[in-house]
Each structure stands twice: as structure tokens, then as C-alpha cells.
Symmetry: D2
Subunit: 294 residues, 4 copies
């Protein structure tokens, strides 16, 4: 259970079966850095390709297709004080005829004060709530999928719930799992509907564990209060189907519910959160509060 | 500002330009009863047609097309102790190939203890959280729309946020607005994904106000912490567009934001809730916390 | 088998359970007139409400819920020489970000020469191919549905295949079926993607038959070469599901195929046509060539 | 303008930036072989991975990002007499509740007689109409995209119109373009709604040309009667937006229409065909008849 300090020197704009940047073991912790979505580092220098360049991949010894990689997000700390967002709603988020009323979209610069936990621009000051927008493991079939979108292996989900303390479960398709991460946000509303959060470079620490022989179908997660599954697809209806089906499976396989009881529990207590509704694939998160689980 | 005690003797399964059941004035309060979704009353007798038969319509004196009807939901109290749900996920909520694994769907009976604020079936006991599933005003063009679905005038939105204390804004299309209500639920998860909440008959009290000459485009609402708009359409993507566009308009018309500032505010702080994802039209709710409003 | 010459003096912008305009019998033929989509008659006078005002309803003696109304479209002849279209693609038809590049939408006027079978505007001359954009029977549950959209009972489907010689099958929900028609087009591409065809008033002749006790689920049709079903919903994916399911049922109930053979036949020879992709509900048509049927 | 006889010895199940199998020049013709969708060759031996393993990639000398690769499909000839299909409609194609009525899906074997131009199974005999289901060039950003789906670079579009004699235009993103092809079908209905056409191995001949500096946004094509664009996305609505936007651009850039005239032309004469509605991304084809072009 080593701790690795890893300073990346190259980045990827696809999540795929790329040459490992570092080999780590089950139980290891990694402290590393992520660029912002535009490819800029701690010094504000553009050292990666836009958008959402990834640190990694981290090869987890022993991980094989069919396993599950467990990633605990230990900490996300911005390593500079400037972040950026767009300033106009994305065209796909509003009624088609309303697009004609949208002004031109521009980048704006935010002051991020991590100590005070605030981010400010113009009249607005919001509390900082650090999250990782894009991370995942190598997808099946040798695919290399753009970090502009997401799939069953993760990717650019932009879900506010991927924050410090969360545990993420990822379906392993490649030997070593090949874990990537990047694209942290200081603040973001549901859906990332202006096409960005406050994009900022960060110091990130995470810890991996391996669940040998445990197979899942899409990204799952867990925090203090909930278990959840993320469906990544378009339209949102299909993302919802993916997420709901995965929670339904989970409730039956791990919590002793039959299909009827799991259905009733979901019918009475399911909660949905929205990740990204900006990218080619949208993200819907289906949640169940732990208070209802045995 | 009279208080009307109205005992309905007939019900509607469309929301349309029907003969008024009661004339009321701006500022009046109505205490009335709603059947459950199956058409059963307080005594469990089937006196209305399935599904979601509506009490009303209430003709609000002075309401004209282009106005907004404000409805405050004062109280929702079940008037019997038995409620019903289905017990299997709806087929449209899961991956198409997973439908083959769903068991047959049946009705189950819940014990609802309003004093204790609990509803129980088998191993499950959930806290009662009363909501109105279906309500609205007459739609435009003389339409009469099935209470199985929803539209810009409201209808079967099945949103958990339509609970006691909420204020709803409805776009008036018919003289007198013609307000209908019914289909209360004792407990329901997001999305009504088993096709029902705990369906139960209720005593409901509401108070109306009229905003003359104020025109809105779809259902809006407000509670202690948030303003929100409900988009009703399929797919969920389009419901999201409707709701987001309406909040965008609201932020600009009433809160002094220009399009850019309203976009930034939404981008940083918007929240989405899901109403119904079971009916022909789905419901997406776009919310903004009042703490961010001037 | 009477022939009725019916001159309408009022029109409806919903298809619903309205007072019959004329009672007719099984086997009767009706010769009547339809306004254009804007409500203008043969003389170009605005006598109906926009959009798609309907002639009718025609009450077919003996028609009861659960029956099928068969309507043969005998002829559609424009009764004036001027028609109108919009001149810019609808915003919902193009990529959201491309909406910014669309010019303002205006009405343009076409010369329709029915004898020469041509319609002309500016540099363009197209062959006239008369069709009925909007027709149907009263929907279930007493609904009255806007002629801006469509449903299982028909409505504004805007399918080019609803032309002279086609036979249409409609599911009866109201006593007398209550058949409406209007909104003829002289020329229209697939999808009605500029939001209109060449809108023109017409003389229309149709003949009805009743299939007692035969129940269908959505609009069906038949011409010399194909049988088909129309699915009306959004998104297009759902319209496709409706249409495909209905053809699948039809192949099994009437043509002696089991589910496997019907699937194989569809897999090898199904054809799809697109009706309207502009309205709240889109229309997808699923077709099977008669040459493959027993 | 050489003619290359290329016998593949390995295959790819992603379309990506893979090591070229053969270098060819602008104007060259290639005669090669494709496996069937299951990975079986001319002898029925499984030599490739399922599904839709690709022959190639062919590196076209001089092709650079921003160019267009023109591929003429000269001939598609099955090289064996056995093909296979599934025998039940795919679950995503029918109404969700109808899935419960679908039987189990199995593979069936067809006799393909290329001389007689027929394919037969059980009671069915259909005319052979050879097509290529899956082909494309390397996608942007170094992506490697599964041959189970499609994107702006092509992929598994399963469009019946990709047959002998068609000319296809592909947007080049990688040096050398890297053209792949495979997955030929002897017969297939619109939409590939049983999840397969008649899958068969083939001898294929194609000829490439390079359009330097000409940039397109998604797959385009041309045959004797039409120009067309293919939009690949889900839902079908978005695929339709992609295809329509691309044709709209093409009409303006190459045929001298302004936005209004191009809109009117499309409004009056556009045609849509459906490719795949089975894969993660669906395919919609937007067509314009050449008879209407200057």
C-alpha cells in the first residue's frame, strides 16, 4: 500500500488502451496533478491538448477484464487561483427556437480562493465544491474514446457527486484497468449547462482497490449516504435506463432483494441526479439512500 | 377571500374546457376531496374513472387568457388508511433487453398512518410525504388533454415537489382558468418509475390568486428555498429544454439578470429534479435556489 | 351508399368529441372542402382559426369504440391557384448550434397549376402531389387534441403517403367515430421540415367503411403496393417503436406469420417513411410491400 | 492508378489510428476480402473477432486532416453461399411493454445464390442487394471507435444505400485517412431491425480519390439519382439534425443556393432514409434528388 507521487509529463485526450504512465498495486495511493479542461497547468501554461486532457493511465497490477476497479477520491485541491467558464447556455439545453436569443459565448475568468472556499466573478460568489469531471478506465474492445464524451467505462460525466470522499466502481476491460483522470471543476451546477464548470488545474489524491472477479456493467459509486449508478448515453432517457437497470441489478445481487422488492424500493425512494447534459453522451445518476438498505 | 367547502360528485379524466364545478374569486380558498388514481374515494368505492380522475374545474372569476393563476397548496391529508402501488419497474425505465427479466406487475396494498407519518408494506416502511400528482388549468385552443399525461398547462407531472406549502404558477388559456386537481400520493420516489406512487384519496386545501396580464409559458413554482419551472415533454431532453428556457426567461424578466449573467448563474448553481418519467410526456424540473437571487 | 355534398360553415382546431357536422352511413361517400392550414378558404378569406382547422366531424352511424373506421381518400383537388409555405428550415431540424446561422423565417406564395400539375415559386417548379396533412377520429377518453400535433387517432401527421387512392384505418374511440379532415398540401418533402407544405384549400372526396369489432392500436394504411402503420410520438425513436409494433401485430393477426417469421420478414424487407418531424409529436411510418405478403 | 489485390491476415474491431495494412495512392483501386459480421471468412472459418471485424486500414498517400476521402464502391460480391441473420426483432425497436411478447432470438442460416440474385430461408426468398454495413476512416483526436457503432467518420451505419456504384465522401482526421471496411450484407431491410442483415463474407473492390483541402463534417454520398448525408447519433432526432445540417451546408457551398432557397428546396423535395436503428448510434440519411440541383 505504497503512496506514489506522480508528476505527469504527457496527457491523453482519449481514454483507451494507452501505454501506462505508472504501475501501481492494489491498495496503493497516488498523489498527482491534473490539467484544466483547456490543457493548462498550475502555472497557467498550455501543456496539454484541449479538451479534458487526462493524467495517466495508471496500470493496476493484477487487474483483468471482468474485475472491478475501486477508486476512492481522497482529495481534490486546486493548485492555482484562476479558473475559467463559458458565459452563455449551451444551444442544446434550450428550446431550439430560443437559440436565436442567446448572445455569443465567451470565456470568463474566476478567482478561486480555496482557503475561503469561494469562487468569484463579477457580481457572483459561489462556494467552492471541488469535483472531477472526467475519469475512467480503458473501455472494451480496445476502444479509445474521446474525453469529450462518456461511456460504460466512465469518461466526461461531469457529475457534481464525483467529489472528495466518494468511492467509484469501474468495470475493467483492459489488463491493468488503465485508470485516467482530469478535468476538475471548482464549481458547477447540475448538467454543466454552460458547457463548463470552473475549469482549474488541481492536485488530486486517490486510492485504488481491486475486486477480483466482480463484474459490473457501468460506473457505480458510493458516498456516506447513497449508492448510485451512472448511465452515460443520449438521449437522457437512455442514460436513465442504463442507470436504473444497473441499480436494479445491484439491489438484487448484493442486498438480497428480489425483483419485486427492489422495484418497490426504487419506486418509493429512488433519487436521480443529472451529470453532463452537454456532451455527445449525457449522464444520469440513479441513487438509493443507504438508510433503506439492509 | 371566502373559504369554500366543495364536495365533488363527478370527475374528469381530461383537463379541458369543461363545465365549471364551482366559481371562486381571486384570493379564495377551497377545501375539497380528491379520488385516488384508480377512481376510488375515501370509502374505497370506485366513483371515478381510471386513471387520475380530477376534482373541479374551479372557475376563477376574472381569469383570462394571458394571465397567470397562482395556486398555493395549503394542505394534503389522506382521508383513508389504505393506498396502492404497482410492484414492478415500468418497462420504459429499464434497458430494452432487461424487460425480459422483469416479473409480472401487480397491485399491492399499503397501510398509511398519517399521524405517525408512515406507509408500510411487507418489509418496507417509508415516511409519508404527501404530494399532488396531477393538477392544472385548461390548455390552449380548447384542448382536453388526458390526465395520463402533461403539457404546458400542467397535468400528470407526478413531481414530489408539488407538496404542502408550494406555490404553483399556471398559464391561463381559458376564461376562468378552470383549475383541476387529483391523484395524490403518500410516498413516491423520483420519476414514479413503478408507474404509481402510493395512490390514495385525500382532503386537499388550496388558495388561488390571479396575476392579471402576467404571461408565462409553462408551469412554474416556488417554495421556501427555490423557484422552479416544469418542462413536460418527451424525450427527457426536450422536457429539460422547456424547463431551462423558462427559468432563463424568469431570471431575466424578474430578477434583473441579462442573458449572460443568467447563464452564468445557471451554469454554477442550477439544480434539476425529475418528475414523471413514466407517462407519454415526462417532467423535468429546473430549479434555482433563492439564496442566489437578488 | 349515399354521396353527400357537404359545405362546412365552421371548423375545429382540435380533434375531439365535438358535435357532429354530418351523419353518414357505412359505405357513404362525402364530397367536401378543406381550408388551408392558415384558415383560408377557396376565395382566400380567413374563415377558420389557424393552424390546420378541420372540416367535420362526420358521425358514422354504427361506429363504436373498438371498431375500425376505414377511410378511402378518393380525391384531393386544390380549389384555388395560390398556396403558401415558410422559407427557412425549422430550428428543431438542424444542429442546435446551427440555428444561429438560420435567417428569419417568412411566408412565401406559390402558384399552383393543378392542370399542369406544377407548383412554382422563384426559380423552383415542383410537380404537384396532393396530400392530406391532418385528419383523424376522436381520440380516447374524451380528449380533444390540438390539430398542431398527432396521436394514435391520427391528427397532424403530414405524411406524403396520405394521398389519393390510399386507404386509411383508424381506431374508433367515440360513438360515431367522428372523422375530421383538413390541411391539404400541394407539395411537401419528407418531414415537413420547413414547418409547412404548400398550404392550400381543397375539394376532397372520401368514402368510409366500418369494420365492426376489429380493434387496432394506431393509424394504419394501405395503397397499391404496401401496407403500413403510422407511429405518432416524440422522439422519432418512440414513433418508430409504435409503428413497428403495430406492423408486427398486423403481420401476425392477418397474414399468418408467427413472431419469428414476422420478424424475419421485417428484418429483410421493412421500409420506413418519415411524416412530420416538426410538430410536438413526430410521425414514423413502417411499411411492408404487399409483394412479400401471402 | 494501380490496382491492388490485398489479402487481409488480421482485422480490427475498432476504427482508429491503427498501423496501415496497405499504402495506396490517390486514384488507386483495391480488390480485397471482408469477413462477415461474426468474424467468419470465405471458408466459414472464424478468423476475426466479433462483431464487424474490419479489413484495412488502407493508408492513402497524401491524405491529411481536413481533406475529404472519396471512396467509390465498385463491387461487392459474396464469396460463399451461406449467410446468417437473427430471427427476432431487436428489443429497442418495439414498444417497451411489447418486449415481453418477443420470443427468444436465434441465428438462422440463409442460402445465398449470387448468380440467381436470391437469398432463401424457410418460406422466404428475397432478392440479393449487396451492401457494406460498416466502413469509415480514422476518427478525430486519435479515437478508436467500436465497429458496433458509428460516428462522423463512418462506422457501422448499415445503410442499404451503401451499395455497388455509390460514391462516399469521408472527412479525413488522421494522416493517410486510414480507410477500413467490412460487414457486408446480402439482404437487409431499413434499420437493420433484427440486429443483422444477411451477414456474409465478400470480395469487395473500391477506388479512392482525394479532395485536398475540402472539409466536410460527416459522411456524405452520391449515386446516380441523389446526393445524401448520413447523420450518426442517438436519438434518431439528433441523427436527423446532423444529416439535415450537412445537406443544408452542401447545398449552399456547392450548388449556389442561399439559406432560404436551400431551405425551400429541402422543404419541398427532401427525402430521408433510415440506416441502422439498432446500434448505440443510429443512422439517418438526408437525400436530395439531383434532378432538383443546378
Amino acid at each position: 500500500m505504497a503512496i506514489h507521487d506522480f508528476e505527469p509529463d504527457h496527457y491523453f485526450v482519449t481514454i483507451g488502451w494507452h501505454e501506462p504512465a505508472l504501475h501501481i498495486a492494489d491498495g496503493d495511493t497516488v498523489r498527482t496533478k491534473t490539467l484544466d479542461a483547456l490543457g493548462n497547468n498550475q502555472q497557467g501554461e498550455k501543456v496539454g491538448e484541449r479538451g479534458n486532457p487526462q493524467t495517466g493511465p495508471f496500470y493496476v497490477e493484477g487487474a483483468e477484464p471482468g474485475d472491478t476497479l475501486v477508486v476512492q477520491i481522497d482529495s481534490i485541491v486546486p493548485n492555482r487561483v484562476i479558473g475559467h467558464t463559458r458565459n452563455v447556455l449551451s444551444e442544446n439545453i434550450v428550446d431550439p427556437e430560443y437559440v436565436r436569443e442567446l448572445p455569443e459565448n465567451e470565456w470568463i475568468e474566476w478567482q478561486v480562493d480555496y482557503a475561503a472556499k469561494t469562487a468569484s466573478w463579477g457580481q457572483f460568489t459561489f462556494p467552492v465544491d471541488m469535483m472531477i469531471g472526467c475519469f475512467g478506465v480503458a473501455p472494451p474492445r480496445g476502444e479509445a474514446i474521446s474525453t469529450a464524451t462518456s461511456y460504460i467505462n466512465g469518461g466526461n460525466m461531469d457529475y457534481r457527486g464525483f467529489r472528495e470522499g466518494v468511492t467509484v466502481y469501474l468495470p475493467v476491460s483492459a489488463p491493468g484497468a488503465l485508470f485516467f483522470l482530469g478535468d476538475c471543476h471548482a464549481v458547477q451546477g447540475d448538467g454543466e449547462i454552460i458547457g463548463t464548470g470552473i475549469e482549474i488545474s488541481c492536485d488530486v489524491q486517490f486510492t485504488v482497490q481491486l475486486q477480483k472477479g466482480r463484474t459490473i456493467n457501468t460506473v457505480r459509486g458510493e458516498n456516506d449516504t447513497h449508492i448510485f449508478a451512472a448511465g452515460n448515453a443520449r438521449p437522457l432517457d437512455q442514460a436513465t435506463q442504463h442507470a436504473t437497470t444497473e441499480i436494479m441489478r445491484w439491489l438484487q445481487s448484493d442486498y438480497g432483494f428480489d425483483a419485486t422488492d427492489a422495484s418497490v424500493l426504487l419506486g418509493m425512494a429512488v433519487e436521480y441526479d443529472i451529470g453532463n447534459i452537454y456532451d455527445p453522451a449525457y449522464t444520469m445518476v440513479c441513487k438509493m439512500a443507504k438508510r433503506w438498505l439492509p
